[in-house]
Every structure is written in structure tokens, then in C-alpha cells.
Symmetry: C2
Subunit: 146 residues, 2 copies
């Protein structure tokens, strides 16, 4: 978790301005957190761009963890994403991204090793209490570093 | 243009960290600019979250200008968006958002005045040379301030 946080802060310096920290990773779900204050907008809620950045980073971080666990060195980029902003977020916020099922992960890793490039689709969300405030679907592409 | 820039910096303080400026507005297309440096990632290209923030803001800014021109006081939020990251962006970047056709604009304004709330769908993009690097579609909701 500390390694991922240091990697985020080092590789994407803006994550420091956003105040991104790694909240938790239990092997299945990665949670990234950001404080409201640097991300606030005029309605005293979080700026959509900051919410989007955190869900995007939660997917990127999860792919990074998956590849690290598999011992595969690869570069990760996002290809496309779809985001719904359902509720305003009026406090610090946490983006959670869950690993896809094992079969999907196996296909992703096998394709990456075989073809040097593979795609993984991930869902993430930010909740306010028990309700989804931001729902995200993103496709990431990993490129093998040979 | 200066009023919009001041509004962005005031209402969404993170836009200052992103280095967002209003590049141009000719009455049809709004262009927002951001420098690479604060938005750079480990591949010496712009962080996807920053690219997303700039296209999202270009749509928000265009709705703000449309309402200002119409003399309508309303709050604007984004409802959902879809983004494709097609090419890496290795320099300062500009997001352009074009006004929809007049009939669509008229419906949006009439609905807003009548119902107190209306949606507008906008497309925006970031180009690298002559090619689209980021393509964005977003739906914004305006709420009349009575």
C-alpha cells in the first residue's frame, strides 16, 4: 500500500495536489482517499474532475497491484471511461475498485504475456453513506516492458 | 473570457493547480488551456485525470457562457460523461467545446425557464496536431436560481 502511494505521488505529481492516499487494499478491493478541501467547488462539494481523477486512479492502482502480484512489468494507460455523477459529495471521499473475477484476470495476464499488450475493464465507485455517488467503468491497457 | 477564467479559479480552486486558462471564445467554440508541467505523469505525457478535468471544464464553461448570454442565472453540474483517450498528450493542451445547434440551445433554455431544470449534451476534444487525442461527451444539468 505504501509502495503504491509512493508510486502514485512520484509518477503522477498532481496526486499530491489532490491529496490522494491509499486507504486500504485487502487483496480484492483497492480504496483511494482524497480530502474535500483541495478538491472543493463553489457548491461546497467535490469538483467532478477530482472525483473522476480518483476513480480513474483507483483503477490504475488496481491494475498496478495485479501486475505486481503477478510479477509482470508493464506500463498501464487508460483507454476510455464512462462516469455517472449521481449525488454531490460534500466531504472527504473514497474511491473503491474491485478486482474482476479470477477467469477474467487470468485471460488478461495470459494475453499480456503472449501478445505484449492486454485490456482490462474495471468498475469503481465513490459512495456517500450507503449510496453510490459516482459510478465509473474504465478500460485500461497494459503494455509489457520487455 | 476573463470573467469566465476568474469564475473558474474562484469557484473551482483546483483549476489554479491545473493551470487552467481561457484560451479563446469566439461565440461558438470555447477553448481552455493547461500547461503540461503541473499535469505531467511518469511517461512525460499528461495525466488522464487532468485531460478529463479540462474537457469537463470546457463543457461547464460553455454552459456558463450560454446562460450568461441568455441572461439566465443557474447552477451547472455534470451528470455523466464518456471519454476516449486515443493518443498520449506530450505538451501543453487545449480542450475545445463547441455550442450545439441553435434549435437544441433553444429547447435547453426554454425547458430551463419553464421547468427550472434542463439538460444539455456537449462534445469536446483535445487535439494533438490534426488528430483527436481525447474525445469527450458530457451531459450537464442546469438548475435555475430563482
Amino acid at each position: 500500500m505504501q509502495t503504491l502511494e509512493a508510486t502514485l505521488h512520484h509518477e503522477i505529481p498532481l496526486t499530491r495536489a489532490l491529496g490522494v492516499t491509499v486507504e486500504d487494499y485487502d487483496g480484492q478491493v483497492l480504496s483511494l482517499k482524497a480530502p474535500l478541501e483541495p478538491n472543493i467547488n463553489h457548491k461546497d462539494t467535490a469538483f467532478a474532475g477530482s472525483l473522476n481523477a480518483l476513480v480513474t486512479l483507483s483503477g490504475w492502482g488496481l491494475v498496478w497491484l495485479i501486475l505486481k502480484e503477478a510479477g509482470i512489468a508493464a506500463k498501464i494507460v487508460i483507454q476510455d471511461s464512462q462516469v455517472n455523477y449521481t449525488l454531490p459529495v460534500a466531504g472527504d471521499f473514497v474511491a473503491c475498485c474491485r478486482k474482476p473475477d479470477p477467469a477474467q484476470l487470468e485471460r488478461f495476464q495470459a494475453m499480456l504475456v503472449k501478445k505484449g499488450r492486454a485490456r482490462l475493464e474495471l468498475g469503481a465507485e465513490i459512495r456517500v453513506g450507503s449510496r453510490a455517488a459516482v459510478t465509473f467503468q474504465g478500460r485500461y491497457v497494459a503494455h509489457l516492458v520487455r
